[in-house]
Amino acid sequence: MGRYTIRRLLQAIPVFFGATFIIFMMVFALPGDPIRALAGERPFSESVQRELRERYNLNDPLPVQYGKYMLALAKLDFGESFNRRRVSDIMKERFPVTIKLALFAFLFEMFLGLIAGVLAGLRRGSFMDNLVLVSTTAVVAIPVFVLGFVAQLVLGVQLRWFPVAGIQSGFYSYLLPAMVLGSLSLVYIARLTRTSLVENLRSDYIRTATAKGLPRTRVVGRHALRNSLIPVVTFLGVDLGALMGGAIITEGIFNIPGIGREIFQAVRSQEGAVVVGIVTALVLIYILANLVVDLLYAVLDPRIRYD
C-alpha cells in the first residue's frame, strides 16, 4: 500500500506540469490585450501600459513567460494579480471559504443521500422508494441556479430564515448555499446507493448470510451496504473535486467569496498568474481525492489489494 501511494503521488508530478502549462497556454491564447482592457474605455497612459506589461512579463513569448512563472513558483512565489496582490494571499483567503462550502455540501449530500438511498433500496417498490424516486427526479430536473434563486428568495428574503448573501454570519451563512450546491450530487448518491443496494441484496452471499441466521441489521449493514458503497465512494471522491471547482454558480448567487468566483473574474481579465495558481491547486486536490478513493476501495472490498 505504501509503494502504491508513492507511485500514485509520483504520477501527480507530470500531471502538475502538464496542467500548469496547458492552463497557461489557454490564458495566453485568449484574444485581446489584458492591460488595454484593464482600464476600461479610457486607456491608461502609454507609459503606464508599458510599465505594466513589463511587470507581468506580457511582452515575452509563451515559453519564456511559462519559464519565468515556474522559476518563481519553485521559490514558492505564485506571482501577482493585476491589482498588485500576491496570488498566494488571494488563495489563502479564497480556499478556506470554498473548502468550507464544499465540505458542508459534501456532508449534506453524503448523509442525506445515503439515508435516502438505503431507505429506498431496502424496500424496493415501497412508498419510500417511490418518494425518493420522485423527489430526486424533481431535483435533477431543476437547474442549480433556479434552485439557488428560489431557495434564496423563499428561505432568505420571504421567511428570513437564512442569510441571503455573504459569509459574515459564519457557519450559518454556509448552510443554504451548501444545500443548494450539494443537492444535485445528493440525487446521484441516493440513486447509486439504492441501485447498488438492491442488486447486492439479491446476491448469493446475502442469501447465505440470511440463511446462516444472521440478524437483518447485520446482513444489511455489514454485508450488503459495505459492498454497495464502492460506486458511491468513487462518486464521492470525484465529487469533492467537482464541488470545489463547480461552486461558481452557487458562489455567485449567494455572494460567497470563494475560488469559483475568483477564477471566473481572473479568466475574464486574463490574469494568468491567478488562474494558473488556483487551477493547479484544484488539480492537486483532485488527484489527492482520487488517491484517497482508490485506497478506500481496499477497505471496503477485502479482495482488492495494492502493493
Binding site: 484574444p31 479610457r42 497612459s45 507609459s47 442525506l112 425518493v132 441571503v164 444545500m179 475568483e262 473574474q265
Partner: protein
C-alpha cells in the same frame, strides 16, 4: 400517489427543519423594514448603516479609477474641492484658494488645521508628493494620465526606456507649508474643476513607507477612517474620524459590503440585511413601486454613443452619418430595451455638467423621412454594414433594435454583427480594424464640457476612436481652455460641440441614470454626478 400527497420529500422537510432551528437562533438580528421603525423617530447624528459596492481594484486613490474604490475613498479622503451634489459646481474644502493669472501657473493655498487619520498634517507636500508619485510611470498608477498637462510629465513618462523612480514633476513647486504651485504645459481654465477627483487626493508620509500596506488600510484625511483592514470580497468598514477638520459625517459607522452580482445586493436590501443598493435594470419597474420614496433616480455622467471609423471612405459623408442618427428612435429603444433606465442623448455633454444643453443636436430626433433623404444626398448605401460592439456588456438587444431601425428607415438590408470580448474589442478599435459603426461609452473625470469634447474629438484626443480631426474644433477647445474662468470657457466649448454635432463623427445615443434603493432605517440618501452616494450625509433614523 394518494399516500404520497400527504408528505413532502425528505430533504425538503429537513431543510425546513434546519431552517426553523436557524430562525430560532437568529432572533437577535434587527429587522429593518419590520414594524419596529414606525415609532417616534429622530434624525440625530449617529448610528450605523451598510452600503453595496463591488470589489475595488485599489484603495490607493492615485491607482483607482473605478467607482467601487472611488465610493470608499470618498469617505476616507477629502479633496481640495468638492462638487455640489446637484450642480456639480466645485467648492473649496481643503483648498482655501486656487488662483491663476494666466490659466497656466496655478497657485493652490490650503486651509490650516487638516490632518490625516494618523495625525500627520495635510500640507502642500502631501499633495505634491502624491501627484509626483502618480505621474511617475515607474509606479504604474492607473490615474497617471490626469497629470499629463503638468510640466515635466514627459520626462517621467518617456516613450522609450524607464523613468527614474525618484524623478518628480518640474511643474510642481512647494512654496510654503500651505501653498504650492502647479505649472501646466498649456493654459487650462478648467483646472480647478479637475482637482476634486481621487487622482488628486493628498497622501500621508505613511504611504511612501509601505504602499502595499496602505492599500489594505488607507490613511486619509476624510470624515471617516478605516476600521480594520480591507476584507477582500467581503466588506470594508469605516468609522468616524474624531479630529476631522471639515463638516463631520452623520452616521458613526459605515460598512461597505462587497457584492459581485448587483442582483444579490438588491435581494439583500429586500431581505432587510443591507441598507443601500443599486437597482439592476430588470428590477427597475418593480423597484419603483416596491420602494416608493426610497427609490432614488438621478442622472449619471455616463454617455453612450455609436462612433464611425472616419478613415473608412464609406463613412466620409456627414450627411450619411446624420442619416444614421435620424433613423434611430431613441425613446422607443429606451422604453423597449432599457425599461426607461436611460435618457435619450441630444447633446455630447452629459446633463450633469454645468453648461450642458438638453437639445444641442439637430440630427438626434427621430425623423425617418429626413433620414432617407439625407442618405440619398450622400449617395445611398451599398453592400453589407458591420455593426461592432463588445459581447460582454449586454449590448445585443439594443444593437438589434437599432439595426432594425436602420433596415427599416434607411433600407440597409444586410447588417452584420461583429462582437468580441471587451479586451479584444478595444484591441480592434486601437488597431483600426473596425470597419463599421461601433459602440462606446464615456464616464467623466471631472464635470467640465471640455472633458466630453477634447479627449473624444480633438485631433490628438486620448480616446479619439473615430479619427475625427477638425482644426476649427481644436481651436475652439483651445480657446475655451485659455478662457479667463471656468464659466467663460463654456461658450467656446459649446461652439465646438455645435460643429462636432454637425459633422457627427459619433451618434449620441443615451445618457445614464443612477438608480438606488434604500431601507427605511436611513434618510437623506443623495447620489452625485459621479454615481457616488454621499455617505457622510446619510442619516440613520433612530427609533425610540
Amino acid at each position: 400517489m394518494v399516500r404520497s400527497a400527504r408528505k413532502t420529500p425528505v430533504w425538503i422537510a429537513l431543510i425546513l427543519a434546519l431552517g426553523l432551528v436557524a430562525a430560532a437562533c437568529g432572533g437577535d438580528d434587527d429587522e429593518p423594514g419590520s414594524g419596529q421603525t414606525s415609532g417616534p423617530t429622530s434624525v440625530e447624528p449617529g448610528g450605523d448603516f451598510s452600503l453595496q459596492i463591488c470589489e475595488p481594484e485599489f484603495l490607493v486613490p492615485q491607482n483607482d479609477n473605478e467607482t467601487c474604490g472611488g465610493q470608499v475613498l470618498q469617505s476616507l479622503f477629502t479633496p481640495l474641492v468638492q462638487y455640489d451634489v446637484e450642480t456639480s459646481e466645485p467648492a473649496n474644502v481643503v483648498a482655501s484658494d486656487i488662483s491663476t493669472d494666466d490659466q497656466t501657473t496655478w497657485t493652490i493655498t490650503l486651509n490650516a488645521g487638516w490632518t490625516f487619520h494618523d495625525g500627520s498634517p495635510v500640507n502642500a507636500q502631501s499633495f505634491v508628493d502624491a501627484w509626483n508619485w502618480a505621474a511617475n510611470a515607474s509606479n504604474a498608477a492607473g490615474n497617471n494620465y490626469f497629470f499629463a498637462n503638468i510640466e515635466g510629465y514627459d520626462e517621467l513618462n518617456p516613450t522609450e526606456g524607464d523613468a527614474d523612480p525618484e524623478a518628480t514633476l518640474s511643474g510642481l513647486e512647494v512654496v510654503d507649508d500651505l501653498t504650492f504651485t502647479a505649472t501646466l504645459t498649456a493654459p487650462f481654465s478648467q483646472f480647478a474643476l479637475t482637482v476634486g477627483y481621487n487622482a488628486f487626493y493628498p497622501l500621508p508620509p505613511a504611504f511612501f513607507e509601505d504602499p502595499e500596506g496602505f492599500n489594505e488600510q488607507p490613511i486619509g484625511n476624510g470624515p471617516y477612517m478605516m476600521d480594520g483592514v480591507w476584507e477582500h470580497d467581503q466588506f470594508i468598514k469605516v468609522t468616524k474620524f474624531p479630529d476631522y477638520a471639515g463638516t463631520p459625517g452623520n452616521a458613526d459607522n459605515i460598512e461597505f459590503r462587497i457584492y459581485s452580482d448587483p442582483d444579490v445586493a438588491y435581494t439583500d436590501v429586500q431581505a432587510g440585511n443591507l441598507d443601500i443598493a443599486d437597482v439592476p435594470d430588470a428590477q427597475i419597474e418593480q423597484g419603483r413601486t416596491d420602494f416608493g420614496d426610497a427609490f432614488i433616480e438621478t442622472p449619471s455622467s455616463v454617455f453612450q454613443y455609436i462612433g464611425f471609423p472616419l478613415s473608412d471612405e464609406r463613412f466620409q459623408s456627414p450627411e450619411l452619418r446624420q442619416a444614421f442618427s435620424l433613423a434611430i428612435d431613441r425613446e422607443a429603444v429606451i422604453e423597449a430595451v432599457f425599461f426607461n433606465t436611460r435618457t435619450p442623448a441630444r447633446s455630447l455633454i452629459s446633463p450633469v455638467v454645468a453648461g450642458s444643453r438638453e437639445d444641442a443636436c439637430q440630427y438626434c430626433a427621430f425623423d425617418p423621412e429626413l433620414a432617407a433623404q439625407k442618405l440619398e444626398e450622400a449617395g445611398g448605401w451599398e453592400g453589407p454594414l458591420k455593426f461592432w460592439f463588445n459581447s460582454d456588456g449586454g449590448h445585443e438587444t439594443w444593437v438589434e433594435a437599432v439595426s432594425n431601425m436602420w433596415r427599416q428607415n434607411l433600407g440597409i438590408q444586410e447588417i452584420q454583427f461583429e462582437s468580441s470580448e471587451f479586451a479584444d474589442y478595444l484591441g480592434s478599435l486601437d488597431a483600426g480594424d473596425v470597419d463599421g459603426p461601433f459602440r462606446l461609452g464615456w464616464v467623466m473625470d471631472y464635470p467640465s464640457p471640455q472633458n466630453y469634447l477634447e479627449p473624444l474629438h480633438a485631433c490628438e484626443g486620448s480616446s479619439n476612436n473615430t479619427g475625427y480631426c477638425n482644426e476649427e474644433v481644436d481651436a475652439l477647445i483651445a480657446e475655451g481652455n485659455a478662457a479667463a474662468s471656468i464659466d467663460e470657457g463654456i461658450d467656446s466649448y459649446l461652439a465646438a460641440e455645435d460643429i462636432i454635432l454637425e459633422d457627427m463623427p459619433i451618434i449620441p445615443t443615451w445618457f445614464g441614470l443612477n438608480q438606488s434603493v434604500h431601507s427605511d432605517r436611513i434618510t437623506n440618501v443623495q447620489i452625485d454626478a459621479f454615481s457616488f452616494i454621499r455617505v457622510a450625509d446619510v442619516q440613520v433614523v433612530a427609533s425610540e
